[in-house]
């Protein structure tokens, strides 16, 4: 397992995500420039649950997601990645 629930929450925090309560998941909603630019689900339950799907949900590689968790990659760095991939316009 590359990312567990704790990592998922760390990524959500790093990206200043708003957490919306769902039935089985919390939905981490990421906003930028007054618009919602991404979201991903965080499974409820124990911290050992696998969340290896999150890098794909936020359009980064596993390595970049790991950098988000470990701090070297900032929210602005992530926004730059999304702009490059045209998931953010303007």
């Amino acid at each position: 397992m590359l990312f567990d629930q704790r990592d998922a929450k760390a990524i959500a925090k790093k990206l200043n995500a708003t957490i919306i309560d769902g039935k089985r998941h919390d939905i981490a909603v990421i906003n930028y420039g007054g618009k919602m630019i991404g979201q991903f689900g965080i499974r409820r339950g124990s911290g050992s649950l696998g969340h290896d799907y999150i890098p794909g949900q936020i359009h980064v590689t596993n390595q970049q997601a790991r950098l988000l968790v470990q701090c070297p990659m900032s929210f602005d760095d992530w926004v730059a990645v999304l702009k490059k991939k045209q998931f953010i316009t303007g």
Binding site: M1, L2, I20, G22, K23, R24, H25, I27, V29, Y32, G34, K35, M36, I37, G38, Q39, G41, R43, L49, G50, H51, D52, Y53, G56, Q57, H59, Q86, F87, I88, T89
Partner: protein, 187 residues
């Protein structure tokens, strides 16, 4: 008085084993087949009965046989890793599952089309993905991953529907458009 019946030509195996020479017929004149001549002149070849191998007394056929056997052995050696890779690929493909969400019952959603879901194993768990909408989640079993994804699709649909469209960035806007293609709320 009964007329002698024409005999059937000897089979390949009879010729290989030299059995036909004991039958006493015109085919006795045919020399026994060697492995090499059988390989290079298969039974359906038009030259089958014209390309006889040299007599066994000659050392040449044994040299030919050895070359052929070496060539076959070399080919088999090349096949072994390829077969192993194919077996691994097949085992890998069998681990994946492509299923569909056919209903959201008893949740209040109507499906316009079944939703294709891809489930694949990861380290100790399973990840279920609806690729068109880029929505994924995981579960300890395939069934749990499937149920979790169903739930997440419904939750994401409800949430995106609640956000004014002008506030949706390109990706959430696209996700909502895809979800609307597949799901509608029955409320």
């Amino acid at each position: 008085m009964t007329l002698p019946q024409p005999k059937e030509p000897p089979t390949v195996w009879e010729r290989l084993e030299g059995i036909h020479t004991a039958k006493g017929s015109e085919y006795d004149l045919l020399p026994p087949l060697t492995f090499a001549s059988n390989v290079w002149n298969p039974p359906d070849s038009p030259t089958r009965y014209f390309a006889w191998a040299p007599p066994f007394s000659s050392p040449a056929p044994y040299a030919d046989q050895e070359k052929v056997l070496q060539s076959i052995a070399a080919s088999l050696e090349k096949l072994v890793p390829r077969i192993a890779k194919l077996e691994a690929d097949v085992a890998d493909i069998r681990k994946h599952a492509d299923v569909v969400i056919a209903t959201f019952c008893p949740e209040p959603y109507t499906l316009r089309h079944s939703i294709p879901i891809h489930i694949q194993p990861t380290d100790g768990s399973f990840v279920a993905t609806f690729f068109d909408a880029n929505i994924s989640t995981s579960g300890e079993t395939e069934e749990e991953a499937f149920a979790n994804l169903k739930s997440l699709i419904a939750e994401t649909f409800d949430f995106l529907e609640s956000v004014p469209e002008e506030q949706l960035g390109p990706e959430p806007f696209r996700q909502l458009a895809v979800l609307r293609e597949f799901v509608s709320s029955a409320r």
